[in-house]
């Protein structure tokens, strides 16, 4: 039997834009306006379920060493949230 453990990092899924909102992977899809278009016709629930992120990697898919992930342009949260809110109306 697996021993009980303490959760240190857990994914929180929410359909509300704000502190508990999923955001898009801008590093994989630099044109988030395109993402917004792709979201048309997608339910909010589906959009949230499908939005997964990938770590920053080199050309061979290995994670970048160190911790330099602080740049704001990883995603454009406003674009995504605005679109989600628009769909939700």
């Amino acid at each position: 039997m697996r021993k009980k453990t303490l959760s240190i990092l857990a994914v929180v899924l929410s359909t509300a834009c704000g502190p508990q909102t999923e955001v898009p992977d801008g590093s994989e899809n630099p044109d988030l306006t395109q993402l917004a278009y792709e979201l048309k016709g997608t339910s909010l629930e589906q959009a949230m379920r499908d939005r997964h992120f990938r770590p920053l990697c080199d050309a061979q898919g290995f994670p970048l060493v160190g911790n330099v992930v602080s740049k704001v342009d990883m995603t454009d949260v406003s674009t995504f949230c605005s679109e989600v809110r628009r769909q939700h109306k």
């Binding site: 080199d58 970048l64 992930v69 995603t75 949260v77």
Partner: protein, 263 residues
């Protein structure tokens, strides 16, 4: 691929990380930040937790490679301790992400955490790993975290970054001490210059996305202009210059490619 989460066993094993902990007011994080900034910061701190985890894997590989070349035992011990440091940093980053509302779903491949060395010579295998991890990745981390701390906008996040920085400077230093110890040939140095250049090119991924302005800086995030300037400055001053002092020349084309990606 798996969604990145972390867990701990506690008990006697938890004490090892507990000894590193500092008292922080987690409930204060993001109290006055906009919802957009908090949401974006969740992504940054989830990514940060994974970066630290992957760095721990890199130091585990370095420990093994140093053992294989009968490196000085204090250097080997330090590399082993750095694995624990990185797990602690992963825990700290996770606590920030959780205090902000929880992690974002980050798809990771835990079977490909560290790019393997290609050399068949044990000393060069160690050198490749050390150059990529310590002399490039960790050397860039220190100045970038310094910038993030200045723009934290939260005393708790400032304290978290300060605590991480306390260790990261040593992580970079291991690389320079290793290179000063290892007896490398001119061919070895030329190879390591290319290894460093390739590692630097990998960071071009940071500049692949267009620059967003919607959620602003703070909570550990930097605006694009500040990030780009500090990053390129660190590439030259904290990586290329220090490698050159040891006869390891990073090909100019690799640095130019990074500068072009940032433009």
């Amino acid at each position: 691929m798996t969604v990145f989460t972390l867990e701990a066993l506690g008990g006697p094993w938890g004490k090892r990380l507990a000894a590193r902990r500092v008292e922080l007011r987690w409930e204060d994080i993001g109290a006055e930040a906009s919802p957009q900034l908090v949401a974006a910061a969740r992504e940054v701190w989830t990514r940060s937790a994974f970066s630290e985890y992957a760095s721990g894997a890199a130091f585990a590989e370095i420990s093994s490679s140093l053992l294989a070349v009968n490196a000085p035992i204090d250097l080997i011990a330090a590399a082993g301790e750095f694995v624990a440091d990185e797990m602690f940093h992963a825990e700290l980053s996770s606590r920030v992400a959780m205090a902000l509302g929880g992690a974002v779903p980050l798809n990771v491949d835990l079977s490909r955490l560290v790019k393997p060395a290609v050399s068949t010579d044990p000393l060069m295998r160690a050198a490749e790993l050390v150059v990529r991890t310590c002399c490039v990745g960790e050397a860039l981390t220190v100045p970038m975290l310094n910038q993030s701390r200045l723009a934290a906008g939260s005393l708790t996040i400032e304290a978290v970054i300060t605590r991480i920085l306390k260790d990261e400077a040593h992580h970079a230093q291991l690389g320079w001490w290793f290179l000063d110890w290892a007896e490398l040939t001119d061919d070895n140095r030329a190879t390591l210059g290319r290894v460093a250049g390739e590692a630097l090119r990998g960071f071009g991924a940071i500049f692949a996305a267009r620059c967003a302005t919607g959620s602003g800086a703070g909570l550990g995030r930097l605006d694009c202009a500040r990030f780009d300037h500090a990053f390129l400055d660190a590439v030259n001053n904290d990586v290329v210059r220090l490698l050159a002092q040891r006869g390891i020349i990073v090909p100019a084309a690799d640095v130019d490619a990074l500068v072009a990606a940032a433009a």
